[in-house]
């Protein structure tokens, strides 16, 4: 019963992610349908790859006639940032079996990571709460993709402000993370570097990970010097 209550708490916490994932899933499903993927093909990708931006890129590449190896290699580069996220998550997770960790690993996305790490740094969380967030976010993504593939993009971009759901969530989670003046510096530096790198190297998929690692390194250097 305790586990069920924890699972429910996680499902409630994931609501802002659902607001963001359903419309992006719809857009993904509609795009995938346009390039000729069938409903089961869309569902398969959303269920077992489950990584938004790389799925958009994969489908665009498929539409452009790219080969299997190109798409897989691009997917690897785009999703490499999760390595950094799982590394940051690991010290904050409760003691868990390898089986449970393998299950949780499936659900690590930019958004579930941002939400869970912010909550984990404030207070310990039961494992089933984290699982509740992951299950809810993945269900929203899968159902959104399938609905988009079946019915087209039901929510045109911009309606109800849905495009801003995930940026707004990130803004708030960053604010909740910041504790010291040095944290503010690292946040500004990471954002500025990422923006600058993106302009210099348009279309690169690893800009955010490089900017974040550089900013964190400078943060540690300043911390240790002062």
């Amino acid at each position: 019963m305790r586990r069920l209550a924890n699972l429910r708490a996680g499902m409630r916490a994931a609501l802002p992610i659902v607001l963001g994932y359903v419309p992006i899933g719809l857009a993904f499903g509609a795009l995938a349908r346009q390039i000729g993927l069938s409903l089961w093909q869309i569902g398969l990708m959303s269920a077992i790859v489950y990584a938004g931006s790389s799925q958009f890129i994969a489908v665009s590449l498929l539409g452009a006639g790219a080969g299997l190896l190109t798409i897989v290699a691009t997917t690897f580069l785009v999703n490499l940032r999760h390595l950094l996220m799982s590394s940051a998550l690991s010290p904050h997770l409760p003691r868990l079996s390898n089986r449970f960790l393998s299950l949780l690993a499936y659900g690590v996305t930019d958004e579930t990571f941002a939400l869970n790490i912010t909550r984990l740094r404030a207070a310990p969380l039961p494992a089933f709460d984290i699982l509740g967030v992951h299950l809810t976010a993945q269900t929203a993504w899968l159902l959104g993709s399938l609905a988009g593939g079946l019915l087209g993009n039901l929510i045109p971009p911009g309606s109800f402000g849905v495009d801003f759901a995930l940026p707004a969530m990130f803004i708030c989670l960053i604010v909740l993370q910041v504790r010291h003046r040095l944290d503010v510096g690292v946040v500004v530096l990471a954002g500025g570097l990422s923006l600058a790198l993106m302009m210099v190297l348009p279309g690169s998929h690893y800009v955010a990970i490089v900017a974040a690692m550089a900013a964190a390194t400078i943060g540690v250097a300043i911390h240790d010097a002062g």
Partner: protein, 109 residues
């Protein structure tokens, strides 16, 4: 692309996505991390969130848009204020979406 090749593609995508997600979770609990690495990892969450959201706000279409005509940037201001004053995730998301909706004018149909 044939159906078999498509399944192979998705399995390949899954493998290269899952391995970076899972490796640190399975490996790091068995490694004693030096203090400096732990401190580094403490800086990573806010840094990566910022590195992801700042380009989305300042260059939503891939091109820098720093002015009043960029609703992402404008909506970020009240969202930041609400987040800072209330520390409420739900409140920030609702206010941000409402302001963005008003700014983009899609409510007018």
């Amino acid at each position: 692309m044939t159906q078999g090749k498509y399944v192979l593609l998705v399995l390949g995508m899954m493998a290269v996505t899952y391995v970076p997600r899972a490796t640190p979770l399975l490996l790091l609990p068995h490694i004693a991390l030096p203090d400096r690495v732990r401190r580094w990892l403490e800086f990573v969450p806010a840094a990566i969130m910022s590195a992801l959201v700042v380009p989305a706000l300042f260059a939503p279409a891939g091109q820098p848009a720093f002015g009043w005509h960029n609703p992402m940037l404008l909506a970020a201001v009240p969202t930041l204020l609400v987040a800072w004053r209330t520390r409420s995730l739900g409140g920030s998301v609702i206010v941000g979406m409402a302001v963005y909706w008003l700014l983009t004018g899609r409510w007018a149909g």
